[in-house]
């Protein structure tokens, strides 16, 4: 049986999109205690493409992202980044792959003992010691300007709002110019105006940088705004995958209910 990676490099796919998958998840299983969170999930994302992963709360969307970045290890299945299976890699080997990935956590996960500028500079200070300190500082300012936070360089994370923390988290995720961007509920807990601003920001960055992105969200409007494809999860597996129009045409009861309620 062909893997997700092999399927995705079929001639018609390459001709249609001209891209090969950056991220390919194949038959992934994950259980916590007695609770089966992921039950053989498979999907893939190519360069310049954005996949929105939707589903009810507790269906394993965030766990999927954590498996892709390697913070959790799967019980079975494979996670391939650029064709390399990362499922059994040691921590230091994973480091080289993670440098190509940016992750925005659901609550931003900013380092609360560092200022906004120091948070964004953190990956640069560890991985870009080859460039001068002044150049790193310029890069930090540029990143914060891109997300509209250049006025908060010396503020602490506790001094800024949740939406601002997400923006800083996004700037930090982009610090190493990743090829793959993983976003865990980027608009969760935000008011509609802030959510719209974050969506707009993500769309602009994706358009400019042509990254492969996976956005986990339960917000259908946000998913429609940002994603070229949507995957709807239920009971640990993908129920349906495709464009928003394709989802609307689905006859599956769960999909109809989900779209109706959103």
């Amino acid at each position: 049986m062909a893997t997700a990676y092999e399927n995705a490099v079929k001639q018609e796919d390459v001709e249609r999109r001209g891209r090969v998958p950056f991220v390919a998840v194949q038959n992934l299983h994950k259980t916590f205690g007695r609770h089966k969170v992921l039950d053989g999930i498979s999907l893939h994302v190519s360069c310049g493409e954005t996949l929105a992963v939707l589903g009810r709360s507790g269906t394993g969307k965030s766990v999927l992202l954590r498996l892709i970045i390697g913070i959790e290890k799967p019980d079975a299945g494979s996670v391939c980044i650029h064709g390399q299976n990362i499922a059994g890699l040691a921590l230091d080997r994973m480091g080289e792959i993670r440098k190509k990935m940016g992750f925005l956590f659901q609550h931003a996960a900013l380092y609360d003992s560092l200022t906004v500028a120091e948070n964004v500079a953190f990956p640069l200070e560890h991985h870009r010691r080859d460039i001068a300190k002044s150049e790193r500082a310029d890069r930090v300012r540029q990143l914060l300007a891109e997300v509209g936070m250049d006025g908060a360089l010396n503020k602490m994370p506790s001094d800024i709002s949740g939406g601002m923390q997400k923006r800083v988290g996004l700037a930090r995720a982009l610090a190493l110019e990743p090829e793959i961007l993983l976003l865990d509920e980027p608009t969760a807990g935000l008011d509609p105006i802030s959510s719209g601003e974050i969506d707009e920001l993500i769309l602009t960055l994706q358009r400019e940088r042509q990254m492969a992105s996976i956005v986990v969200t339960h917000d259908l409007h946000s998913a429609r705004a940002n994603a070229s494809r949507l995957a709807l999860l239920n009971e640990g597996n993908v129920v349906v995958e495709g464009t928003f129009d394709e989802l609307q045409q689905s006859d599956i009861g769960f999909v109809k209910d989900f779209l109706k309620q959103s």
Binding site: R66, I69, G70, I71, L91, D92, M94, G95, E96, I97, R98, K99, M101, F103, F105, H107, A109, L110, Y111, D112, F122, P123, H126, H127, R172, L176
Partner: protein, 283 residues
């Protein structure tokens, strides 16, 4: 009550648990849980120690973070350790003088104070004070980082958290404890002499000469350097408790408390082993 009211009340009753019985944990199941939990804890500590050791000896090294931790563990513990040492010195001085007077051995006072402080009280007291201050601080800090996903963010940024967070803190504790023990010993001897001199004239020179007469390096260096082992215990336990925390604010509190309690307990147990070792090989 109307029929509608009775129906509403019926609907509010909890579902009948026909197929379930209320489970009361038995003594056997509690004992089994404790037994397996005991070995699980030590097993996890072993795995954690190996991860930290592997990370600590492979580059790139986190020198900046290590220097920051040396300051945090060493310089910032200095006042507390000095004060504790000073207090211990006065207490031992008063107690020793009273006990030695009863047996007509007042002339032994300087040596008694010097050997008591440097070989036993100084190192143990330093270890317990630092376990309380540094152990709790490390445990709480790392636990807070764990529950707010900051450690996950460090890992997602392709930085080894065992190297950045744990190895630096543990190494700082190992390096700083002997120095802090020297501080405590010095303060204890100074205040111990002062407390004695207030009662009976005794010059500091006489006190030092009498206290250290016949002493060799073997008498004092091993007890001081055994505090490096205390530092390993304090740092390792605190980092382990912090980095495996779960359960929000309650979990952070538990991590801080367990770091101090377990760190102090293992420190005292280690002292029993180390004393035997020192007596066997250095005396």
């Amino acid at each position: 009550m109307s029929d509608r009211g009775i129906a509403a009340a019926e609907n509010m009753k909890p579902p009948l648990l026909h197929s379930q019985e209320l489970e009361i944990p038995s003594f056997a199941s509690n004992a089994k849980g404790l037994f397996t939990g005991f070995f699980e804890w030590f097993g996890s500590l072993g795995v954690f120690s190996w991860q930290v050791l592997k990370a600590g000896v492979t580059p790139p090294y986190e020198w900046r973070e290590l220097i920051r931790q040396l300051d945090e563990v060493g310089s910032k513990s200095f006042p507390l350790v000095a004060l504790a040492g000073a207090a211990i010195g006065v207490v031992i001085s008063l107690e020793a003088r009273y006990s030695l007077s009863r047996f007509g051995a007042k002339s032994m006072f300087p040596a008694t104070l010097v050997y008591s402080v440097i070989q036993v009280m100084g190192p143990v007291m330093t270890g317990l004070v630092v376990s309380g201050r540094v152990g709790a601080g490390i445990g709480a800090e790392l636990a807070s980082m764990k529950v707010t996903e900051q450690i996950d963010a460090i890992e997602a940024s392709a930085i080894n958290p065992y190297r950045l967070l744990a190895a630096t803190r543990i190494l700082a504790c190992i390096l700083m404890l002997p120095l802090l023990a020297l501080v405590a010993d010095s303060c204890a001897l100074l205040t111990g002499w002062f407390a004695q001199a207030m009662v009976e004239p005794l010059s500091f020179h006489q006190f030092i000469e009498s206290g250290f007469s016949g002493a060799t390096f073997n008498a004092f260096l091993p007890p001081t350097f055994k505090t490096a082992v205390y530092g390993l215990i304090i740092g390792l336990i605190a980092c382990f408790q912090g980095m495996r925390t779960s359960g929000g604010a309650a979990g952070v509190g538990r991590a801080a408390t367990n770091s101090v309690v377990l760190g102090s307990l293992f420190l005292i147990l280690a002292d029993v082993v180390l004393v035997k070792f020192i007596l066997a090989f250095f005396h």
